[in-house]
């Protein structure tokens, strides 16, 4: 059976949607030469009307995509660096995402914002290592964060077919992940459906994005001590609260492993909702970036600000030991 990498899954999902639906097109910087490999082979296959190389005009081309979407197309914008999503935050959250409501339901804006390199790049400096998915969830923009090639394929497909704006975060640290798949099994995955990667009974670890793989490793390490369930929401907005509640109902304990900044990050939202609505037998914990984390330009400083496996293992042990509220 073929081995599919995360990056190749994105290339395949986008190509499949472009084959299936003429209205889909991709625009972005360096897409002709497929700098990120997402659009590898596309210029030849689809031509310059569907593979649109754009200048460094992010605010302009993000609004351009909104316009094209209003006029019936399904643009997919590829962004090179996470901070570019901050540069176009207004265009996504205020122009595109509010338009359906503002037009009284007359016209939706089906744009996909594809960020295939989200998160920390060792040594690339403070301006290149953001992980802003929580911000989009906060603003009510549909936002997905798949961890595996199959999920990346399924959620990119869904994002493109969805009639609303959807931000797709592909964690940089997951791009190399490979999975043995049957191509015929690749299929759309609904927004807001979580996934149990590893069943367990003692504690639920909610892991997001590339941290899913690290959480699975920690769960294995702790296998002699505890039965750890690893649960991945896959999309952060909408969020599969029902799926989380089911997991927590089984385990009663919760640790969140989240690459967001701590204050007002997804981890905070997950703990708050669980505390309000679910039956937790012990106080939950989260392992995140620090508050307002910016990372520097030195690998050893940067890594000190990333959530680590060791922190997760310790948090899991603390939650397991806790005798209650």
């Amino acid at each position: 059976m073929p081995k599919l990498s995360y990056l190749k899954a994105l290339n395949r999902a986008l190509g499949d949607e472009m084959d299936r639906d003429e209205s889909v097109f991709v625009l972005g910087e360096d897409v002709n030469f497929a700098l990120t490999n997402i659009t590898a082979g596309f210029l030849k296959r689809y031509g310059p009307d569907r593979v649109v190389e754009v200048p460094l005009t992010e605010q302009g081309f993000t609004n351009f995509a909104t316009g094209a979407a209003m006029a019936g197309r399904r643009p997919v914008i590829e962004f090179q660096i996470p901070f570019l999503l901050l540069l176009v935050f207004e265009q996504i959250t205020n122009q595109a995402n509010k338009f359906l409501m503002m037009s009284g339901g007359q016209r939706s804006v089906p744009v996909t914002y594809l960020m295939p390199a989200a998160g920390w790049r060792a040594g690339w400096g403070a301006q290149h290592s953001d992980q802003p998915y929580s911000l989009f969830a906060h603003m009510g923009v549909k936002t997905v964060l798949p961890a595996t090639p199959t999920d990346a394929y399924g959620l990119l497909t869904t994002a493109i077919r969805d009639d609303d704006p959807v931000v797709f975060f592909g964690p940089l640290a997951s791009l190399g992940v490979r999975e043995i798949v049957e191509y015929a099994d690749l299929a759309p995955i609904p927004l807001g459906s979580g996934r149990v990667h590893r069943a367990g009974t003692d504690v639920t670890v909610v892991a997001l994005g590339h941290l899913v793989h690290e959480a699975l490793a920690v769960a294995e390490e702790l296998a002699d001590e505890a039965s750890v369930e690893v649960w991945d929401p896959r999309s952060v907005y909408p969020f599969d609260w029902t799926g989380l509640a089911e997991s927590v109902a089984r385990t009663g304990r919760l640790v969140v492993f989240d690459d967001s900044n701590r204050a007002c990050g997804m981890g905070a939202e997950i703990l708050a909702t669980a505390a309000e609505e679910m039956r937790l037998v012990a106080p939950p914990k989260r392992v995140t970036r620090p508050d307002g984390a910016i990372v520097g330009a030195v690998p050893e400083l940067d890594v000190a600000l990333q959530p680590t496996k060791a922190q997760l293992a310790e948090a899991v042990r603390t939650v397991l030991k806790s005798t209650g509220w």
């Binding site: 700098l35 301006q127 914990k285 330009a297 030195v298 400083l301």
Partner: protein, 354 residues
Amino acid sequence: MPEGVVAPVKVAEGLEVAGITAVPTSVTVPVAVADSVELYRTMRFIRRFEERAIDLVRAGEIFSGIHPCIGQEAVAAGACAALDPGDIVLSSHRGHGHLLAKGTDPSRLMAEMAGRVTGIDKGRGGSFHPSDFTAGVYNSTGTVGHGAGIAAGIAWAAAKAGDPKVVLSFFGDGAVTQGALLEGFNLAALWRLPVVYVCENNRYATTLPVEAAVAGTITGRGEAFGIPSSVVDGQDAEVVHAAVAEAVERARRGGGPSLLEMRTYRYHGHHTFEMLVRLRYREQAEIDSWKERDPLDIQATRVAEADRARIDAQVELELDEVVRFAVDSPRPDPADATDHYHADGFRPRPGVSL
């Protein structure tokens, strides 16, 4: 009130803007004269500095890789030589040459790129975002085109504080399609701020050729705001110097901003990752034809051979020391990772409470 700064401009009856107007033309500021030998030295230093930096990228000492400015040395050297030490430079992701030409300590710049505590930003800026206030380099933004407005703000504040400085803002051809750059132009022109905008048109933004990106012209963007704008041979350091000196003189006189489009070329890939991934977005013949007008070769013809030999040898000795300093300097302590987050020393909570 210092020369060059007068009362705010009245743009309409009753409406004042925070402007700086031209002083009477009787005030003259001498245009600097190029020092051919010094220009050669600076360019030679930049080129060899970048080559040594590439060695350190290969050796894993500069973890981020770099955006080499090899081929564009004449712009950095010629432009910065036209500034006073107190003037300000804003750089870009391809900024090592700018910093060196403005007078940054090369050892501390290399240490910065290698992420050492002795670096000009204690390893927090790295190769991509270095700043060095001791040399008047305020910023190298990673957000292409977003230095233009920052430059205007610095120039405005300095003039208002009675200590006018010329601010020289470097950016690439990729920046001229960015709205924020044009917004910066507008403010600088509206308020006649002493800014020199230097566009290094090296023909590509990563893989994108300038023809596929820019409608109209680069200089036309300046002209639209009433900014004197011209195209300059960016391979000849003395031509660059003369053009920038004229713009600097205009700025000091209160004549407002200028835009200079330097036609130049980068010999290497966009970033050193192109040593690993071969991207065929430009023809070898094009690269070769630019190398025929190599900025160092052009400047070398103006320097006696004996002087050149002496300079070249001296540059090698200095760079040995630069590299030694960078590599031997200590790496930062991860315990200090949240130093400098806030001006009052306030520290963020860690990502986990245990």
